[in-house]
Symmetry: C2
């Protein structure tokens, strides 16, 4: 969570002249989002989020991300709606960064998710997959097999500093997962980062999904695997099969998994755990000290890699065959 870039009221005023959203009353940097700078704006009409895209986001990807949010919102997936500028475009510039304004979604992300939340997330994920099917743009997943190798090249020399033996463990997993990775499963637009802090609730009702800045085209069930990792482990690292059962049932109530997807699920969970371990490890070893960012422990995901390695079938996740 971070605000990387502060902006002056003059810079913001100039930027807002290109929008028809009322007069600016206040803006506050908010401690959400790990990649970009986010501000909550109040104007004479309502509240908005202003996002400044920092260097990790490729400006060439912004039309995909923002176009996807627009596409999904029109199909009933509650997510922030990018606000059009007076010239009809979605992207401007503030303080030398690409920037966009999106509508503000009320709701709170669950710090301690329950099975009720997990079921709702499963349903919402399946709806997202269906609503994304006719989105006209595509974006490859930069953090799939090839991306993992690049990340690993940037941190394998020091990985054993984080845990002795980690180099051998990761290299074995990279090899095993890559050679077994499926290619013929149903694919489409995935969120790819649907952690609890990207899902808002009002009480037990899911009120919206945010942060589409890892969205891409990939295997749909890989998104399910990422949600299992993000939502169904406790703070003591124990897998919570009640939550996983609820998440999978919620998903299948909207989009039943095919037999091939079910069979691939343990491998995809391993792959997803490896992917998040690698980005965390990379940041752990390479991130700037003292930045306004909380580094996240890669070892949490090493534990998940180990857990999934001993799973023999998706039934062990609590999946009930449809």
């Amino acid at each position: 969570m971070a605000v990387y870039t502060d902006i002056t009221e003059q810079e913001l005023g100039a930027f807002l002249r290109e929008y028809d959203i009322g007069e600016l009353l206040s803006y506050k940097g908010i401690a959400e989002g790990t990649e970009n700078s986010n501000f909550l704006l109040h104007t004479t009409t309502t509240s908005f989020i202003l996002t400044l895209y920092e260097k990790r986001v490729d400006p060439g990807d912004l039309p995909f991300f923002l176009g996807l949010m627009e596409h999904l919102a029109k199909r009933g997936v509650t997510c922030p709606l990018p606000v059009e500028r007076n010239d009809g475009t979605l992207i401007g510039e503030v303080a030398g960064r690409p920037a966009a304004i999106i509508t503000f979604l009320e709701g709170m992300w669950p710090r301690r998710p329950t099975a009720v939340h997990c079921r709702a997330v499963g349903e919402a994920l399946a709806k997202l997959h269906i609503a994304g099917a006719d989105f006209g743009m595509t974006r490859p997943n930069a953090l799939s097999l090839e991306g993992w190798k690049t990340l690993w090249a940037g941190c394998h020399e020091r990985a054993d500093e984080v845990e002795p033996g980690l180099v051998a463990e990761v290299e074995a997993d990279l090899s095993a997962i890559s050679s077994a990775w499926p290619s013929s499963l149903p694919a489409g637009v995935i969120h790819a980062d649907l952690f609890p802090d990207n899902v808002f609730f009002l009480g037990n009702e899911l009120s919206g999904l945010i942060d589409f800045y890892f969205a891409c085209n990939d295997l749909l069930v890989y998104d399910v695997a990422t949600c299992l990792n993000a939502w169904c482990f406790e703070r003591d690292h124990a897998f919570n099969i009640t939550k996983a059962t609820a998440l999978l049932a919620g998903y299948q109530s909207v989009r039943p998994l095919q037999q091939e997807e079910v069979e691939a699920l343990p491998l995809l969970c391993r792959g997803s755990a490896l992917r998040f371990m690698l980005t965390r490890l990379y940041d752990w070893l390479n991130g700037p000290d003292g930045a306004m960012v909380q580094k996240r422990d890669p070892l949490e995901y090493v534990r998940k890699m180990r857990f999934h390695r001993q799973i023999r079938s998706a039934n062990e996740y609590g999946l009930v065959q449809q």
Copy 2:
């Protein structure tokens, strides 16, 4: 700027049951305030700020700070109004910290203050001094002469690491300023931290003052000295006499300075510069590395100490005798 403590929606929900402010719709940690954790709340009625008081704030001082805001708001000084709990009190507890809800003030703090802003701040400061005159509580200034000595004891051993010669320079100033410090000037409630990020504007109109967590009883003109230091130097460290003239004229348009206050102003500016240098130096040397707090450079205030040391009369600040 920092959010030190995150809170769960359950903790917040339990806390809010003691208030009559509508249903909670969202809460975001905001990157404002250096001492406490602040959240912007949206409820079904309006917006509020929730502050969790972290360890640097003495809970015994909270009735003074919150009572003062209430007192000033009733006398027309625009500042956040503490929201009463159902039992009539102002202070509760969240996540093990004392916590209060205050009304949300629209407005933006000026990242690049102009002379127009400076004049408005001077006026507002004088109004605050007058409105505070009949406030019934008192709080000594913990960061006056005695407090400086305590701070200095905590960092003098390593001060020369920050700049060679700093130890001798600070000890000479501490001694000179202490022995000449005035005691018979008009005193009362002062804000004591009226930096630009604590003053909100809508356009050129001052819309409110915030952050009363250093407020105390001390010499009124000491508050003027702090504002000169905070508002009237450029980024290249040059003193801007146009801004200072405007600030002093704004102040005197509401509360003319007495002759003794005018004469004491250069010394009080030296003292105020020393006070902020010492807290910055202390944090620079003792603050935790990697905390979500941006450390501020003590040398900026060493330069201000030197500037004021060569001032012979308040006229050099642009003060026009009334």
